[in-house]
Symmetry: C2
Subunit: 404 residues, 2 copies
Amino acid sequence: MIENRFARRAAALSPNFPASHFPGELDEGVIPFDSGFAAPQLLPDLTGFADDALTTWREETLQYSPPQGQPELRGWLAGMMNADGCALSAENILIVNGAKHGLELVCRLLIDEGDAVVVTAPTYFTAIPIFRSFGVEFVEIGQDADGLLVDDLERALAERRAEGKPAPKLIYNVADFHNPSGATMPEDRRRKLLEIAVREGIPVVEDTPYRRVRFEGDHVPSLKALDTTGIVFHLGTFSKLVAPGLRIGWVAAEAPLIARLIQLKSDGGSSPLVQRIIYEFARSGAFPAHVERVRALYRERRDAMVAAVRRELPGATLHVPEGGYYVWVTLPSHVDGDGFAARAAAAGVNIIAGSKFFATPGREWPANMSSPRNHVRLSYSYATVAQIEEGVKRLAAVYAPVEA
Amino acid sequence: MIENRFARRAAALSPNFPASHFPGELDEGVIPFDSGFAAPQLLPDLTGFADDALTTWREETLQYSPPQGQPELRGWLAGMMNADGCALSAENILIVNGAKHGLELVCRLLIDEGDAVVVTAPTYFTAIPIFRSFGVEFVEIGQDADGLLVDDLERALAERRAEGKPAPKLIYNVADFHNPSGATMPEDRRRKLLEIAVREGIPVVEDTPYRRVRFEGDHVPSLKALDTTGIVFHLGTFSKLVAPGLRIGWVAAEAPLIARLIQLKSDGGSSPLVQRIIYEFARSGAFPAHVERVRALYRERRDAMVAAVRRELPGATLHVPEGGYYVWVTLPSHVDGDGFAARAAAAGVNIIAGSKFFATPGREWPANMSSPRNHVRLSYSYATVAQIEEGVKRLAAVYAPVEA
């Protein structure tokens, strides 16, 4: 009696999700390289801001509030993005319950069942079930160390046109410190991506969870900063910069599109209490100091992870990410990522097999793309340097398949 | 380029929404009888609970957390519902971002485009656009002082069957202190509703925002408490009992259905910070005292509103609600609710015309149902007793249409 197409799709999907290991659920001694949890050492002291929010601002923070979000927080976000090259106002910002909520709303605005969407191969795995729940066809485009292969995208769009297929409805990408590949697109490739998108009339959804977690290297403008036509929906989040438990993100887009997204929101808006806490923290002196601590600690852990992998996993290759939370490891051809991840779990280290990051893992791959099963993703955000060293040693012990 | 069917529907809907007047946006001197804001005097002091949540529980409250919600809060909610006649465990509870979010998830589970849903006439107006965004057909069933007319429901279902139409996919109802009608269904009518639902295999969605805001009268079991077959999805919220700004509600249903709803959630879960604050408040001694204060203050305001309407608006009739936030006023036939609401706004009182609460306002109504345009809804939750008296006096001055 209760099956509908959404439910059927969700049921079909679930085995595909990587298992979630929340910190409180980890078995003693297990080392989590699997998920993008915040380093506990970096969770900020928000008590003073909460106290202020619940006293001075009580009639705002505990009452219903406008669905677009707290105006001062929206203004602050527009200012932060403008300092990063954009030209936005509070009108261009919609507060959402995390970037995934923003992605879902953009899908609700743009996608009808059967539409195609462009994603990278590999792509952010949590985006995959969101897209699938809308019944999309995936157009997967490979990456190199500079991110999405724009020439391949151009070719794929031309092929679709030649076959009489409609253009995809959006291009989804993580241009900074890509999850999972770690790649950052240089400015010229970003400009080329936007040129294609504008020419073909395909909206670009830029997901930027790690943008402000840069360790080194040159600043590269965001796609939104390079966007002169309003074709970019920019997704942001406080999860990676302040704390995941806040569940607050934002969408930046043209004001008329923001107005449409608000109409598609039926959740009564994000909590004004949490928005006020974030706003008071963000505009305080504690915030820039916090961001520096975030960068310094994750840089240290990235360095430890890269060194350990190079030392302990012979034949594995990686491109050192300039920021973010993850190292994408390409395995030698005799090591299967799925088997390796299973052996690692048995040895007390949670890692995620590369195949989980491909929207259609069973497909045939072109010669210039490595197989989905040839990778693992290692997160260095939650484990300490000592755990990283111990964990990669455990990985080394189960790296090669046991002889039968 | 960016229209899809959701967006087209949302655009078509928006003129139908009553205007939102958030407390901070009200013009000086305007009296708001329009929306279900909490009385500012009742917003609790949560500073101690927030401080605890952000220190003792920091690694839980600022980290990612399980999408089903905080286990202790789910256990507490199951216990509260069990004290109210249910037989649930934490497994049966899903934490959501307010009851509207729960309703949307249930729609995602049950509804395909073109399906029918049963709603009351009138019904909760914010539910209307949520249902419409799923492309439903409405089956509207009238109410009397005892709520949904179950005989009319039975007749409507039989007529659909005779016409070869499929059964509706769900029955949506507010059985306690209905918004807007104020009616509470007696136990025998609830049993009859469930009997029909079970016989026809139609899930019932019970929305209970006001259930614990009872002023007087006998306790009536919830539909979930009377549900022996698992056919009821129960929606709850802390908005009316603690504070709307928390944006936390819950769905109670059979565990396998909860598991399916979790698969349909893509928002990363509700904020563990807010969940911990609520849980610590709810299990403290402050909570029962708070609930008593809520009941006492709204009872006083209900009394003031009922007395003022009886005194000032000749020919208007109302059924005194035993709880909740609203008085549903039936106007004499020469007073049109839409015109009255417009005149009231000009006189500095915001009220909502009854027609806004009907899913298909333009339809022909059977003889036993009063016209959608023959009512207004007056909220007494936010205005003080003095404002209620002044506001109803202003309403009296613009009650009858001005002679041309």
